[in-house]
Amino acid sequence: AQTVTQSQPEMSVQEAETVTLSCTYDTSENNYYLFWYKQPPSRQMILVIRQEAYKQQNATENRFSVNFQKAAKSFSLKISDSQLGDTAMYFCALSSRAGTASKLTFGTGTRLQVTL
């Protein structure tokens, strides 16, 4: 079974500062994908960033980057230059490449509040 753990239920950061959200996971697969999804108050799920496990290079999308440590099964999200619009729930998720489809296993989420 796959599990995803987010140990920070809530975090707060000031506008323009940097914040890191933690995520650890467990899987017996060697090939898998990791994702960070953002869920604003509208409750829509929006993909922030994606990492393929076989790639050593950490993924980057503008102000968002990850620190992927495969041996430690850790996948943290760094948000630089935080903006008020980053206020949301952030979910770490894992999907396996095995099987017919690739369901996502989500963590419990971290609620991020960006303040002035």
Partner: protein, 113 residues
């Protein structure tokens, strides 16, 4: 930009009634999913659907639940006899292939009273 569309956005139903939640996935996508999120909790996988059949389902997806793709575009989730604990946000997602990211709809908030 193509998107996954879900209807209705909010549905209120009486306990014991049947509900059908509808989704229009992105047109060239082949894999379809339903997830649910009980208020304040994490998102949970319900079922995946590929090649006109269920490829995987969770233990939540019992005999009260069914999915179908009746006309090649819509993807529906039916709950036969709703219970209070079915109250949740239900998300549909679609994927072009299983190696690319899943795109989520905006969700249907189901309230069972």
């Amino acid at each position: 930009e193509p998107e996954v569309t879900q209807t209705p956005s909010h549905q209120v139903t009486q306990m014991g009634q049947e509900v059908i939640l509808r989704c229009v996935p992105i047109s060239n996508h082949l894999y379809f999913y339903w997830y649910r999120q009980i208020l304040g909790q994490k998102v949970e996988f319900l079922v995946s659907f590929y090649n006109n059949e269920i490829s995987e389902k969770s233990e939540i997806f019992d005999d009260q639940f069914s999915v179908e793709r009746p006309d090649g575009s819509n993807f529906t989730l039916k709950i036969r006899s709703t219970k209070l604990e079915d109250s949740a946000m239900y998300f549909c997602a679609s994927q072009r292939d299983r190696f690319t990211e899943a795109f989520f709809g905006q969700g249907t908030r189901l309230t069972v009273v």
